[in-house]
């Protein structure tokens, strides 16, 4: 089976600006795939290229093996899109908007009516079926965007910031709905600024920046690549920066009685560090390990262009601290 999404050297230029700069990406069928990147990274351009709202400059883009321009009808039929912006038909009650959308995808009237009712119930808008979009609250509008994406029963659900600006409770409700769809076999492509959302929902995450792919990995792999912070409190301040000899240690800093190590796999480094410090005559009173988060990795790789394993973790160390390489 072809992947749900496959792009190769995808380029989109707006005059002198390259919104997509040779983006090659593959999203496996049935996966829950996250697309992360700072504002202007090219996430929305990428999505709009897939659904036909943006014309690519060069490269290829396919949805379930269908070229998004040559086989646009097949490609678009497979996609349900919940865009970031509220681009909803204001002339009709939301039930009819859903029926129209289903109709455009070839769903007959009677079935379209059933699907519209089901979709509204699923997102908790069953009681608002005859209301126009403009009269819905902000949270309801977000729910409706998801309902519209679902009503065509797509094989690929593309969600561009689906929980932007909604409260925690609604966000969790939407997560449940989306996860349920993915469990039933729908491939989900999610862009979000809530890193927790990607960490919690996604099987795999791509980080893009300046229209280019920086990295693709599972959230666990990405956090593994990040740098943990191990803080050791000594009984007495050391006269000099103590050496901790381990290849996983990226740097050592001292501030009074506190020794801070930056290291990959921080928890595993702790016993080595304690042993070496005590062998050097220091007494360790307390140890704390701050695990890197996906957010740290995200900040790191989008700042350094992908060198997450070698770079800093995005936190600023105390400027007063002394720091040496191990």
């Amino acid at each position: 089976m072809p992947p749900a999404i496959h792009t190769d050297d995808l380029v989109k230029e707006y005059g002198d600006v390259r919104a997509l700069d040779g983006l090659s990406l593959s999203v496996p069928e049935g996966s829950f795939f996250g697309l992360l990147g700072p504002n202007g990274a090219g996430k929305t351009t990428f999505i709009e290229t897939l659904v036909g709202l943006v014309r690519k400059t060069s490269g290829t883009a396919e949805v379930f093996g269908h070229d998004v321009e040559d086989d646009y009808r097949e490609a678009r039929d497979a996609i349900g899109l919940a865009p970031q912006e509220f681009n909803v038909d204001r002339f009709f009650p939301i039930r009819e908007v859903l029926m129209h959308k289903a109709g455009y995808h070839g769903v007959p009237d009677e079935e379209a009516a059933e699907r519209a009712a089901d979709a509204l119930e699923t997102v908790g808008l069953g009681g608002k079926a005859e209301t126009r979009f403009d009269w819905l609250s902000g949270g309801m509008k977000r729910r409706f965007m998801l309902a519209r994406a679902m009503v065509t029963d797509p094989d690929l659900l593309i969600l561009d910031e689906p929980t932007a600006g909604v409260d925690v409770e609604l966000r969790h409700d939407l997560w449940d709905v989306i996860s349920g769809l993915n469990d039933d076999g729908t491939t989900v492509l999610l862009t979000t600024h809530y890193i927790e959302e990607a960490e919690r929902l996604c099987d795999e995450v791509a980080i893009i920046d300046s229209g280019r792919k920086v990295t693709v990995a599972t959230p666990d792999d990405l956090t593994e690549r990040g740098t943990d912070e191990v803080t050791l409190t000594l009984e007495a301040a050391p006269a000099a920066v103590p050496a901790v000899d381990d290849e996983r240690v990226d740097g050592v800093a001292v501030d009074g009685r506190t020794v801070t190590l930056r290291a990959s796999s921080g928890s595993e480094v702790v016993p080595v560090a304690v042993r070496q410090l005590e062998a050097a005559g220091h007494r360790v009173l307390d140890v704390d390990v701050a695990r890197t988060s996906l957010e740290d990795v995200f900040v790191d790789v989008t700042r350094t262009g992908g060198e997450a394993t070698d770079g800093s973790r995005g936190r600023h160390d105390d400027e007063e601290a002394q720091e040496v390489a191990p």
Partner: protein, 255 residues
Amino acid sequence: MSVSTGLKALTRREVLRFVRRPYNTFLPPFITNVLYFSVFGVILGERISEVGGVPYIQFILPGLAVLGAVSNAFENASFSIFHGRWNEYIDEALTSPLAYWEMVVAYVVSSALRGVLIGVLVAVIGALFTPVRSLANPLYAVAFLAVITTLFAGFGVIGGLAAEDWDHLTVLNQFILRPLVFFGGVFYSLDALTGVARTASYLNPMVYMVNGVRYGVIGVSDIDPDAALVVLTGLTAAVLAVDVWLFRRGYGLTD
């Protein structure tokens, strides 16, 4: 050839949009044409002798029907597309598996239908003011009305795609379409013109439309209706082809 469910859905959406807003779509032309027939037909018309062998009010009736029909066909297509672009909900259709030609057909058919309905409405209003109880050449009346509303719906699609602001739509309608209609022989016969004015009138496509419908309704025409029908049909086909090409290119729709 069966009509696809998607095409039917978009066409129905477009028809419902104007049918459910009669105060915006049907009432204004109703009032305007009651005024036209009252002032030009009754008050002024009584002081004007027959034109082309028929009373003046009967002479202007087909022209007013054409004016209403083409204006509404154009406005409907251009407004619907531009409003959809402005609020971006046209994306609902653009991101669907509808073929580009299906999208064009839906916008054109629904807009032409509105034009036909308004043309018929105007004719009915006119018939209340003057005794026109039957059509002189009904097939011509139907054919011309169908072709010209389709043509102007096709122009409306181009207008809706090309406009970048609401002002552009106003310019298209008020400064291009309306002068062409008024100098297209709605209120006068070409026999009233001489020299350059008469020759220039033959360059105005509205002349052929107005006279074609006039021939169908009252049997009077300044031009050959068969030739006019052939030319207008060809022009309509060309405009529709341009519409589909523009949709395929994404003109005004993508990027």
